[in-house]
Each structure stands twice: as C-alpha cells, then as structure tokens.
C-alpha cells in the first residue's frame, strides 16, 4: 500500500527566510506527486505537481519542489517566505496512470513570523 509521510507537523520560520517542507512517500509503483495548500477556512489549492520529466517542478507563489526517486522524496521549498504563506501544506500522491485517489500526508503547518 502507498503512503505519504510529512515528518514536520509544524514549521515556524521568520519572514523573508527560506523554508523547506519535507515529504517522503512509499509506493511499489510509479507515482504522481502533488503539494496542496490550505488557508484557514478555505479548500485545498494545488501548488504544484510532478507527473514526469524534469525533477524540479515550479509552482505558484514562488514555491518549487524536487522529485528524488532514490530517496522517495518530494520536498517543497521557497527561498523567501511572506506572512501570507502562513497555512497548512499537504503532500499527496496518486498511483500513476489511471489512478484517481489522492493519498495525503498529515500536513505541515507553516507559521511565518514577522
């Protein structure tokens, strides 16, 4: 069975500092990987996704993530965070072609400190 692990439940970071949110996955088949962001009282919004090709994926709001197959990781990064980035971030996977079910990690709450 597939699974997603987000090791950090909470990450505090000062404004304009860089941040990395970690995501590791387990799957016996090839996967598609996603990062979603959830602002308070709002739905999940897609930040970026890895389907194939270049392992460095750029998303919205200045975020990027790197797919590392050997380490089964898909860490999310931003070089300089803003107060508005304060939210909960979810890593998720789909089990490749023909799949529709997203499997999510438990989420990481990013708090940006002014």
């Amino acid at each position: 069975a597939q699974s997603v692990t987000q090791l950090d439940s909470q990450v505090p970071v000062f404004e304009e500092a860089p941040v990395e949110l970690r995501c590791n996955y387990s799957s016996s088949v090839s996967v598609y990987l996603f990062w979603y962001v959830q602002y308070p009282n709002q739905g999940l919004q897609l930040l970026l996704k890895y389907l194939s090709g270049s392992t460095l994926v750029k998303g919205i709001n200045g975020f990027e993530a790197e797919f590392n197959k050997s380490q089964t990781s898909f860490h999310l990064r931003k070089p300089s965070v803003h107060i508005s980035d304060t939210a909960e971030y979810f890593c998720a996977l789909k089990m490749g072609a023909g799949s529709y079910q997203l499997t999510f990690g438990k989420g990481t709450k990013l708090s940006v400190i002014p």
């Binding site: 739905g43 023909g98 799949s99 079910q101 997203l102």
Partner: protein, 118 residues
C-alpha cells in the same frame, strides 16, 4: 469562474441523527470525489463518481454512509445514525474528465463542510 461549493459550511447535529452534505462541482466537470479530513490528519478518500455512477466507494467507512449524484452534477453525501466519530471536515473535489489513461488531472477542492456530532 465559480469553484466547487459545499453547503452547509458548518453542521452541528446530535448523535443518532441523519445529515446530508451537498457539493456543487465546477460546471462541466464529470468526475467528483468526496474526502474526509479528521482533526490533525490529511484528507482520506471516501468515494469517486464518474457521471452519475459511483465508480469507487471503497473509502466509505460503513453502511451508514451513502452518496448520490443523480444528474451527474450536484452530489449529496448522506450519513445515517451519526456518531461522534463522524465529526470531521468533509471535502468535495471535482475534475474535468476523471483519470482516463493517466492520473494527471488536477482535482479542485471545495471549502468543506465541518460536521460536529454532539
């Protein structure tokens, strides 16, 4: 354009009661999904509709849960004899066509219905 909408945004009920949660997908989206997000957890898959039919309901926790999508657009998640453990945020998502030959489609999520069973 309009995104996925869900009503009500909050629902408080008593143990044993029946509740209905509604989802309006993005217009033209044929695929619809329900997920449940318990406190401190990521969303968990419940059911997937392709058009009017439930293509996969393997995530429904038990037979108290049921969902319909009679006209291939709006969907209703129904919970009978609610229990305190049903308290969670119920999320609905839609996508344009469904997975097809590739699981690449983006699922667009609504804001969720926060259900509290007292």
């Amino acid at each position: 354009g309009a995104g996925v909408s869900q009503t009500p945004s909050n629902k408080v009920t008593e143990k044993g009661k029946y509740v209905e949660l509604r989802c309006d997908p993005i217009s033209g989206h044929t695929a619809l999904y329900w997920y449940r997000q318990s406190l401190g957890q990521g969303p968990e898959f419940l059911i997937y509709f392709q058009g009017t039919g439930a293509a996969d309901d393997s995530g429904l926790p038990n037979d108290r849960f049921f969902a319909v999508r009679p006209e291939g657009s709006v969907s209703t998640l129904k919970i009978q004899r609610t229990e305190r453990g049903d308290s969670a945020v119920y999320l609905c998502a839609s996508s344009l066509k469904g997975p097809g030959l590739a699981g690449q489609e983006t699922q667009y999520f609504g804001p969720g219905t926060r259900l509290l069973v007292l």
